[in-house]
């Protein structure tokens, strides 16, 4: 049986080179130089939010000084987010999955504070107070209010 070496070598080269090129692209560890955003990628956001969402039947708060996952999320993202575009979207995502609760209202209040909407912020914090399930959660809301409503 005759063998066409040119065809054989071209075929093998192509079969070998294409997966290598694909692996080369999917193995790049560079995290970029985006200002203040290098850690702000989907995984980071999702990991923080998942922590929150996985506690779907979250028991009432036991220590008002302990920040919630949403507090941590807001601390992190509001610092680096331009115009809170993404923070707002993800907070809404949490609300969609989890439903309305005191934590969500605190986050919405903080978003409004970041946008300079003081009236809206106070309205959200008021709603957070109303949704708090025990005294510890109410004290947590007051702590947040003191921090942002100066």
């Amino acid at each position: 049986m005759k063998t066409d070496l040119k065809s054989l070598l071209c075929g093998i080269a192509l079969i070998a080179a294409v997966p290598l090129l694909m692996l080369w692209q999917s193995g790049n560890p560079a995290t970029g130089t985006a200002p203040g955003w290098s850690e702000y990628n989907v995984h980071h956001v999702i990991s923080i939010l998942n922590e929150f969402l996985n506690k779907n039947q979250q028991p009432p708060m036991e220590d008002e000084n302990q920040p919630t996952a949403l507090d941590i999320f807001c601390d992190f993202t509001l610092d680096v987010d331009r115009n809170s575009t993404y923070t707002a979207t993800w907070i809404d995502h949490v609300t969609a999955l989890r439903g309305d609760c005191s934590d969500v209202r605190i986050a919405r209040g903080r978003l409004r504070a970041a946008a300079g909407d003081r009236e809206g912020m106070l309205r959200e914090f008021e709603a957070a107070r109303a949704l708090a399930r025990n005294d510890i959660e109410r004290r947590h809301v007051e702590k947040i209010v003191r921090r942002f409503a100066k």
Binding site: T3, A17, V18, L23, A30, V42, A88, A96
Partner: protein, 464 residues
């Protein structure tokens, strides 16, 4: 006008009507959770278009994927939405999703009419109509154009390749077909990572065919002449060139443009999967089989998975029987097997990277659209190769089942599942009202906060 042409035009017209009917059924669509951000970003009138589309921080959540062609189309969609809203006709349709779907149908019908002469016209129509009504194609809500664009690329690559070097009696495929194939292979990686995968698969299939055709016995048995070999080398060159171009664009060219326009280097973290994701067969298998089953019977979970598995077994059995009877059909059977294996690998990687896509409210969406475009071609290829009336009738029956299921879908019972977009669907009439009526007090309306920001942004943009 001959009868076949009338079927073609009728199918295209029916597709237009179906697309319109689905769009009307969506009642203006809803503002997708993530789209509230994208609409604001793409309608930022203070930045030129190139600066926006080469800014993955705002177009892709810093999950850089080198799919700027799709961002350009998204930009057109977003501008269209704001323009319509400024005319007091607020909606959240993706106009590109409709146009691209229609283009897929036109191309399918164009190639089916010319290059699949033994297929009955009714079967050709059913292929396109079942495609148009499939759940992965009928989401016209503005989100991303990456998957529809890849589906269009998949349609072109499959059908143009068949025209160029699989159909034996077609001696001279014109330069137009080569240009179409070449341009698509080079542009697909710029549309989506699935597009890059598609071009890579094409190149690998060309490589595998070159290896097989290196042996004289294979060439003699399958009657691969010098002309076919020339075509094969050209196609391999296009495929390999497209993969190399896609890689260089992803690794160097796009990052350089991002640096030039926005002053930072993108993060490759989201793309950094390594090879491990390839073996995520549980996720990929579930995605593929569930979608296959859902396409035909619109049921969820185990029933959809079992339906998909049965169909796959039947398809494998069909090819085994046919190839035993007529061994010269082996290339078509191998191509089908290769495409299915590639789809599984692609689904493995996607579900490994983004496990949330396996949720019931996401699973049957646009992620499957490019694969469905390839499956339409593979089904047409099977029918064309075996030239059997029974096969045509069975295929027509299955596609008819899919069409019937599309009509009956609202009445097919299923266990309830959580829809993470429900809040946005429920509040979208209010968002549209707030965009249409400048006097509407959006601030106290029960809107998601991101939707409120969207309304505020739209009103500010329109005042300028």
């Amino acid at each position: 006008m001959n009868r076949r042409r009338m079927w073609t035009l009728g199918t295209i017209l029916a597709s237009v009507l179906m697309i319109a009917a689905f769009a009307v059924g969506e009642k203006g669509g809803y503002v997708h959770m993530e789209s509230t951000a994208f609409l604001r970003v793409y309608n930022d009138r203070s930045r030129p278009v190139w600066e926006i589309i080469y800014d993955p921080l705002v177009t892709d959540w810093n999950a850089y994927q080198a799919r700027e062609l799709s961002y350009l189309v998204d930009w057109i969609d977003a501008r269209f939405i704001y323009t319509c809203a400024s005319w007091k006709m607020a909606h959240f349709y993706s106009i590109s999703a409709m146009v691209i779907l229609l283009l897929c149908v036109v191309l399918q019908q164009y190639f089916l009419e010319r290059d699949f002469p033994t297929l009955p016209p009714y079967l050709c129509s059913l292929f396109s109509l079942a495609f148009v009504t499939s759940p992965s194609c009928t989401g016209f809500v503005f989100f991303r154009s990456a998957k529809p664009l890849t589906a269009l690329a998949a349609t072109v690559i499959c059908f143009a390749s068949w025209r160029i070097f699989l159909r034996r009696d077609l001696k001279t495929a014109g330069p137009k077909t080569w240009v179409l194939l070449g341009a698509t292979l080079f542009l697909a990686p710029l549309a989506d990572r699935q597009g890059a995968f598609l071009s890579a698969c094409f190149a690998c299939f060309c490589g595998a065919t070159l290896v097989a055709a290196a042996f004289s016995k294979v060439r003699e048995y399958f009657r691969i002449g010098d002309n076919a070999m020339r075509k094969l080398y050209t196609a391999a060159l296009f495929g390999g060139g497209a993969v190399l171009f896609g890689a260089l664009y992803n690794m160097y060219l796009a990052p350089a443009l991002i640096r030039a326009f926005n002053g930072y280097d993108p993060s490759f973290k989201y793309q950094n999967i390594g090879g491990g994701g390839l073996f995520n067969v549980t996720g990929g298998g579930l995605f593929l089989l569930d979608n296959l089953g859902f396409f035909f019977i619109r049921t969820y979970n185990t029933a959809a998975f079992a339906g998909g598995l049965l169909l796959l077994i039947a398809w494998a059995g069909f090819w085994i029987v046919r190839v035993r009877k007529a061994p010269r059909l082996a290339p078509a059977a191998l191509l089908t097997t290769g495409c299915l294996a590639a789809m599984l690998a692609c689904a493995n990687l996607m579900s490994f990277r983004h496990p949330l896509m396996l949720r019931n409210d996401v699973l049957h969406g646009a992620y499957f659209m490019p694969m469905l475009a390839v499956l339409v071609f593979l089904a047409a290829l099977a029918a064309e190769c075996v030239k059997s009336r029974t096969t045509n009738r069975v295929l027509a029956g299955l596609l008819g089942l899919s069409l019937a299921a599309a009509v009956l879908e609202p009445y097919i019972p299923h266990a309830p599942f959580e829809d993470h977009q429900q809040m946005f669907k429920d509040t979208s009439p209010l968002v549209k009202k707030a965009m249409n009526e400048p006097g509407f007090d959006a601030n106290t309306a029960p809107l998601p906060y991101s939707s409120l920001r969207l309304v505020e942004h739209f009103r500010k943009t329109m005042k300028r």
